[in-house]
Amino acid sequence: MERTTSILPVFAALFPMVMTFAIYYVQKESPKLRNNLSVLTSIITFISVAAMYPIIAEGKIIVFELFEVLPDMGVVGTFRVDVLSFCLALVASFVWMLATIFSVDYMSHEHAQNRYYPTLIFTLGACIGIFVVGDLFSFFIFFELMSVISYVLVVHEESVEALKAGYKYIVMTIIGGLSLLLGVINTYEISGSVSLDQIGLITEPSGLALATFIAFLIGFGMKAGMFPLHVWLPDAHPVAPAPASALLSGVMLKTGAYGLIRVFYNVFTPEFLQETGWITIVTVLAVITILLGSAVALTQYDLKRRLAYSSIGQMGYILLGLSLFTHTALVGAVFHIFSHAFMKGCLFLCAGAIIVKTGQRDIRELSGIGLKMPVTMIAFTTAALAMIGIPPLNGFLSKWNLALGSLEAGAPVFVIVLLISSLLNGLYYLPIIISAFFGTEAQEKKFTFDEVPFKMLMPITILALLCLVFGVSPINLPFNLSKMVADMLLGGGI
């Protein structure tokens, strides 16, 4: 594919990091300025990512070399944006922008905001950095930065529970990071290059190659919440403040999925992984992840915990789609990255709104909430239905493609897995909706409108609307991008 150069990726990744310091310094002057600056930073970041669209739409790849960090080590410090990177960066910066806007009112009653905003914006920079860099070393650097810094978001509440979850998170993250480092170093040792601008860095089966594959799988699987490395996720995601949970589940999990795509398609090749049969490991783990996430979610009565387990199940879909290596399944997986970011972002933000208004996290206490907070609950319903995979919504589209892809791959058993998990999704989402609108208390209570402020409603509404729009609209940008990604990855057009 054609290469072109542009400063935009560098700007998108480094601008938030630079602004972190500005935000840190203005907060002494005025909290309002700090909030506005944070929102502004996230908006500018989103715009600068979106501004790459014309170049990407032409099918070009943006390459930018910053400087050589380590001499004699090949390319380091390079930025490279192809359509896959663009998709991820776009969805990350978009959800991040909405979450930041949501934070302004949500966090106003929380402590330590002076720590929250700089961390939030810095993590944004690191997260965009992961998607736009062009080699595995830089990738690893941004990945570690994001993982370690987001620890501060996880333990924001500073309760005993949060600290425990945070410790689990940081320990698992470091293990994952070290494993990833092992993978990167092995790759460098085998192929002498870590550039993502090449396909098939490793094409010879050997013990070291298998070790590399496993190392990458542990490193990224840890982040993506893949069974059996998901244990940190249900603890860490619920304890964070709602916007941070939305980002952790909606965006940061996807960095793991993105990393796996790069490993499957750049470091190794699909043919190689199929010949050696190593990919079967991923497929099996993905199926377990789907079923386990959905099943355990049923047993949770804390709203955010249930959402967190649901995230594990949904990441399983993406992993499954990636591991099948068929065009349709890949489209489904990439589209599900979009869908899940919107759905889960919306759900976590709704949970945050509910907690702000009622202080309630227990699902059994949410009866009748739909009359009190109709807008929030309608958005929640939309996203939850999309999660289940009800037809006109975007969740359906991704599942449909995944199911078709499984058939294409000659494995109808996965269709059954998808159906079972959809059923389970229904079982744990529908009761919430039903009791919210038609619960016992709803019949007694009058309609009392008591909604959260506009700045919180707006992000929720936008995300819910997008779930609907990208399910029905004939001009479906994410879907088209997903197709381009699949064409590029399977067509060998890197």
């Binding site: 380590l70 004699d72 690893f140 945070g166 480092l181 092992l182 170093i185 040792e189 070291l208």
Partner: protein
């Protein structure tokens, strides 16, 4: 004027050592005359040394290796100083880090020592730095021995100067074991002299090649004694027993320089002699590299393991030093380009990190008097700067990218694979993880811990003077700078490695 410049340029290798010795002996004289000048003059000595280092660096980079003959006696007879890229690397590390520690010390000492000994502290400190510089640039066996003894006595001195029970005992233990170490080294020098008739490294190296045919046992025994001596000095497991007491009980600036620089200089000297003096054939006779690798791994592993169970913050840092010196020896044992680069780079990186960690521990003790790790809960809110730099140091110890600890670990990891010894890659990764277990809880408790209701949490926090905070900030900035822009340091280290 030009003649003065010529003298300075021509004699800077000698002058850099002489500066420290001269200023060191000026201190007791000044003590009875202008007491408050001591600190300033000690800093002035370092600035002068930095100036000479700069001149030497410029000479090495423009004209190549600089040699200097003491008293103009040519090498086989006279003492020779050789300054190559490796020596420049060591000189820069020593002068810069010890200057920063000294600036910190000017304020901290008043709190840790009796008033009448503080100028004596500078005497010992400058002697120690001068001896280290001498060790870094000398090319003569006996001269090396003399500098080792000076360094040992002054190092024991800056521990015992605090005069409380633990310090005196630790210092005695250090002195005895260090005497064993230098005794072994001197015996080894005698054996080498016996077969070669030379004390100069270069000449001895030439003479050792034919001598290995004639007297292999002699040289093997020399190598064994030599290794044992330096391993004691550098505190590699299992000969590390003196280090935890000595480094934890000493005044904080002493701990910083002992852990940051002194143990490293012996690793450096060992590396230089092993690779430059002993003939290559000897390594096929005994698997010395494998032995070093095993000892280094044990050191990394047990150092971290012991560090986990410590309650005293300085003791924990001391055990961590044992683990970190293991990395340097790991690089030596790998003996290939990437491994040596990683090992040598870790000398510099760890000097920055550990000096900073000990100084920030010192700052915590200065401000609050707390040494116990459990009592550090919530201290981050009271001392954000100190705990902030501590967090940077902790991340560097673990090897989080964008800190310099990552770069050296990366090169060590590449070295293990180049050498075809992936087992040691596992050692590096596991030890990084162990570092997380003992460093991160401190940082987490300091910043996110619930401020408890116990009365000891309400102890008043003294304000940190500027002289103590500036070195901390500079060291932290250095850690991040060399983590993000390691290029120039790497070029220097790679040139240094190229001489082997």
């Amino acid at each position: 004027m030009t003649t003065a410049m010529n003298i300075i340029q021509g004699h800077s290798p000698a002058l850099i050592v002489v500066t420290f010795l001269l200023f060191s002996y000026l201190m007791p004289v000044l003590d009875s005359w202008k007491k408050n000048w001591c600190a300033t003059l000690a800093i002035a000595a370092h600035v002068l040394a930095l100036f000479f280092t700069g001149i030497l660096a410029w000479q090495v980079f423009t004209t190549g290796t600089v040699t200097y003959h003491m008293g103009n006696w040519p090498p086989p007879w006279g003492i020779e100083f050789v300054i190559d890229y490796l020596a420049i690397f060591m000189l820069t590390t020593i002068t810069v880090v010890s200057l920063l520690i000294l600036i910190f010390a000017t304020k901290d000492l008043g709190h840790e020592l009796k008033a009448q000994v503080s100028s004596w502290y500078y005497t010992l400190y400058l002697l120690l730095v001068g001896a280290m510089i001498g060790l870094a640039i000398t090319n003569d066996f006996f001269n090396m021995f003399v500098f080792m003894e000076i360094a040992a006595i002054s190092a024991c001195g800056i521990i015992a100067i605090k005069e409380d029970k633990e310090c005196v005992e630790a210092s005695f233990k250090y002195l005895i074991l260090s005497a064993v170490g230098t005794g072994c080294v001197l015996l080894s020098v005698a054996m080498l002299y016996m077969v070669t008739g030379h004390l100069n490294f270069t000449f001895a190296a030439e003479a050792l090649v034919p001598a290995l045919e004639l007297y292999p046992n002699n040289i093997l025994v020399a190598l064994a004694l030599f290794s044992a001596g330096f391993i004691v000095k550098a505190a590699l497991f299992p000969l590390h027993v003196w280090l935890p007491d000595a480094h934890s009980s000493a005044p904080s600036p002493s701990s910083a320089i002992l852990s940051g620089l002194v143990i490293k200089i012996y690793a450096y000297a060992y590396l230089k002699l092993l690779l430059k003096v002993f003939p290559g054939d000897i390594f096929s006779m005994v698997p010395i590299y494998d032995m070093i690798l095993i000892l280094a791994s044990l050191s990394i592993f047990f150092g971290s393991l012991f560090a986990i169970v410590q309650e005293d913050i300085k003791r924990m840092l001391a055990f961590s030093s044992i683990a970190q010196i293991g990395y340097v020896f790991l690089g030596i044992g790998l003996a290939n380009q990437a491994g040596l680069t990683g090992g040598i780079l870790h000398i510099f990186n760890h000097a920055l990190m550990k000096a900073m960690l000990f100084l920030s521990a010192g700052a915590i003790i200065y401000c609050t008097g707390i040494r116990n790790i459990d009592q550090l809960k919530g201290i981050g809110a009271k001392m954000p700067l100190v705990m902030g730099v501590f967090a940077v140091g902790a991340m560097s110890m673990v090897g989080i990218p964008t800190t310099n600890g990552f770069i050296s670990k990366l090169y060590l990891a590449l070295g293990t694979l180049d050498a075809g010894k992936p087992f040691y890659l596992g050692v590096i990764l596991v030890s990084s993880f162990l570092n997380v277990i003992y460093y991160f809880p401190i940082v987490i408790n300091a910043f996110f811990g619930e401020p408890g209701e116990e009365p000891e949490n309400d102890i008043p926090v003294k304000k940190l003077p500027l002289e103590m905070s500036i070195p901390l900030v500079i060291l932290a900035a250095g850690i991040l700078f060399f983590g993000i822009f390691p290029r120039h340091m790497l070029i220097l280290v790679e040139r240094a490695v190229a001489i082997f």
